[in-house]
Amino acid sequence: MHAIDNTPSNDSRDKQMPKMSMKLVLRDAGIGIALLLLIAFFSLSTQHFLNPNNISNILTQITINLILAIGMTFVILIGGIDLSVGSILALCAVVGGTVLTIPDLAVWQAVCLATLAAMATGVVCGLFNGWISAFWGLPSFIVTLGMLNIARGAALQVTDARTIYSFPQTFNDFGSKMVFGVPVVFLIALALVALAWFVLSKTVFGRLLYGIGNNEEAVRLAGHSLMIYKVAAFTIAGALVGIASIIYMARLNIASPIIGIGFELNAIAAVIIGGTSLSGGRGTVIGTLLGACIIGVLANGLILFGLSDFMRQMITGVVIILAVIIDKYRERITAG
């Protein structure tokens, strides 16, 4: 430490900078290595894991959780949490599904309108979450717990607890469309990861989200309105839920008010396994991508391995706890 303090910038900088970024690279790499080890393990121990069909199956299964987890990353980075995404997913789906089944619309019109409607629904819910918690200074845990019930209730109310189906065939086909063996819906999720990465690491907005997660008061005293950024993080999460709901409908060809129960916890798990700190200010969306992949690979691989779904659930739980322990340990090493 001393040496660093006292050396004037230039020559030491050349040595220090790569070292620092190496550490950051290693952070994500650690999760990546864990993922590779899992993949290696399952490819050796099971017959069908590396089968192209199985791979695209995994990618399809990851997609929804990944999109929700991207939004969750924004919220957790500012030190918040969003428990309502599962319920909002259902509400977005029934709103989108209703629009999608409006008769006399061309398919492309219906899909565009449905996407807009679903995203708008998610945005409204996100705005509510963000504004209530920021304006009243309430913990987002409580506010989104409330929203979890509000959105679920609303979804059941507007549909009278009925499931919506008979969507246009081209729409349903889209859900299982492949490009070179990769599901299109997964590519959409990947594009969203790239967009989120860009926003978080290259923009003033992203910089301030990290700042708020680390030291809200310092950001406020430096002349930034916290409200805007907090509300924006929840709103982004809401908009992403809207997108996820459309993909969900395209895959399962239904929109039911009871879908998405517990999805928020999977999304949080992906973010945490991906190395984002629950107290905010630290983490990347690339980590979240890897975290979602780990959950997906585990789920698929363990079933192929012959374990029951119950066992799979238990092991996923253990992995979540392990991820946090490893992260804590790693933090101590990088700090020391």
Partner: protein, 524 residues
């Protein structure tokens, strides 16, 4: 352990021939990162004496106390307690050896009862492990009565008590265990005069029972009231120890302050009278102020205006409300001739007001983010286009300000947490300078900053003033204000009780104003 033959050690060696020393510290040293907190402290406390410990903020009193109660491990030096080597690893060790501390920060559990708080370390239990509540309450009653807190029910939750009563409950808790040495860390800061009297009689009783009391205070009159001896600390070193009869207030003040400031004062140019007012406050009142007329003063272009006063006199609140970190309740703020109403720090910054907070870790810096990100935090629009960060511009700003401020750092991408206290403070300053303010508010600008960086920050402040920046500085270090300022105002009880121009500066005068206001309070 070598003992220097000059100065302090000789003095207390003489004094301690009278009675047996129970606690002796030899050449205690402690650094935190680059900051030296204790730089050779010697202290000898006799059995059955009240020993005053005084020094300005940052002199090392708190670190010394933390060392004694096992929270901080010294880097070097030896401590003996009752003739045996003493190196506590935890506060529990310290207690086991008979050393108790009543801390300045409260360690009470607000939702538990007074009795439970008093007995928290060993709740009386029956065989089944159930708390013997009635027994506990009775004993707590006795303990409270002993210190005169007769009007408090021991079953009340602590949150129901006022701050002064909480302090006394802390004292009662410390008195539950028999101790050889009791340390009271600024115990009277929150007490009214009646309660202070009560505390003093308790202290006298303890002394008569042979307990040694170390009494930390910045109220010199209290030191003279109850102490037998006094030790002065400055910059982490023992300046001297004296029996109370052999010293006087002037000597203690001089000891705390040191001589060097007179030198620095001499080579300073007397600033010329200034005309253009950049900021003026009229009946400006923040939420904590009890006075309807609030505070009024003018700040001129290129002026360095200091605000002195004791802790709690409302200095920080004043700065915070000027910077709109908290909103004032009434009064006007006039910027360059126009009354402006500032609703948020953002508006204050846009009005050209920068604010270096007292607590850089909690309010100034984002420790786990890069230096560059911290430097540009208040001027992000200058290093971005259409919301996209321009890393090159950001690094350029950081490098430019870094060399202006003589910042010693590994590079713009290093985390701020890797820097020493002085360099961290420079990053805070750089953040505001990047914004080009017209007015800079500084709250304790050199707290926790090493001597070298301090001198550099002083030079920077002077240079900024020469370039026309108006600076308003709050500091608890009088030499700092005397060295830097063109004018000093003294605050007490949320009002300005005195003002002096450079020619009239003296520590005595400032302290007189500050304590006068205090006395007025205690007479209420």
């Amino acid at each position: 352990m070598t003992f220097s033959t000059s100065g302090p050690s000789v003095l207390f060696a003489q004094a301690s021939t009278l009675s047996r020393p129970i606690l002796e510290l030899h050449d205690i040293r402690k650094s935190f990162g680059g900051t030296v907190a204790l730089n050779g402290v010697n202290l000898s406390v006799n059995q059955g004496e009240v020993h005053g410990l005084i020094g300005e903020n940052g002199a090392g009193k708190s670190t010394l106390i933390k060392t004694l109660c096992g929270i901080v491990k010294p880097d070097s030096g030896t401590i003996t307690l009752a003739g045996q080597a003493y190196s506590p690893q935890t506060p529990r060790d310290a207690k086991a050896r008979g050393l108790q501390v009543v801390h300045q920060e409260f360690n009470l559990l607000p939702y538990l009862s007074v009795a439970e708080n008093i007995f928290i370390e060993h709740l009386p239990r029956n065989i089944m492990g159930v708390v013997r509540r009635r027994h506990m309450n009775e004993r707590a009653r006795v303990a409270l009565d002993a210190i005169g807190l007769t009007d408090i029910d021991v079953r009340w939750p602590v949150e129901r008590l006022g701050i002064a009563h909480r302090q006394l409950v802390e004292v009662a808790r410390a008195l539950m265990t028999d101790s050889r040495v009791l340390i009271l860390d600024e115990p009277t800061a929150t007490l009214t005069s009646r309660e202070t009297e009560r505390l003093f009689s308790i202290v006298a009783e303890l002394r008569d029972r042979g307990v040694s009391v170390i009494f930390v205070s910045h109220h010199l009159d209290e030191i003279f009231r109850i102490c037998d001896r006094v030790t002065v600390l400055r910059n982490g070193e023992t300046v001297f120890s004296r029996t109370i009869g052999e010293t006087n207030q002037d000597e203690l003040v001089r000891g705390m302050v040191g001589k060097q400031l007179h030198k620095e004062m001499a080579n300073d140019v007397v600033s010329s009278a200034r005309s253009d007012v950049v900021l003026s406050l009229a009946k400006f009142r923040h939420a904590q102020s009890p006075h309807h007329d609030g505070i009024s003063f003018d700040l001129h272009k290129g002026e360095i205006l200091g605000i002195a006063g004791l802790v709690g006199s409302g200095r920080t609140e004043l700065l915070r409300s000027i910077a709109a970190a908290e909103l004032p309740v009434s009064g006007a703020l006039v910027r360059e001739g126009k009354v402006v109403k500032l609703h948020s720090p953002k508006e204050a910054i846009n009005a050209g007001i920068g604010f270096v907070t007292e607590d850089r870790k909690d309010q100034g810096l984002i420790l786990t983010m890069p230096i560059a990100a911290n430097v540009t935090l208040a001027s992000l629009s200058d290093v971005s286009r259409l919301g996209l960060l321009d890393r090159k511009a950001e690094d350029a700003t950081t490098t430019r300000l870094g060399s202006d401020l003589k910042l010693k750092y590994g590079g713009p991408s290093k985390h701020v947490s890797t820097l020493s206290g002085g360099n961290q403070q420079k990053v805070v300053l750089a953040k505001w300078l990047a914004r080009n303010p017209r007015i800079l508010l500084l709250d304790e600008p050199t707290r926790g900053v090493d001597v070298g960086a301090k001198a550099e920050i002083y030079a920077l402040i002077r240079r900024l003033a020469e370039n026309g920046l108006a600076l308003l500085i709050v500091s608890s270090e009088l030499p700092e204000l005397i060295t830097l300022c063109d004018r000093i105002m003294v605050m007490s009880q949320h009002r300005i009780v005195g003002e002096m121009a450079r020619a009239d500066f003296s520590e005595e005068k400032i302290l007189t104003y500050a304590y006068q206001g205090e006395r007025r309070k205690t007479e209420h």
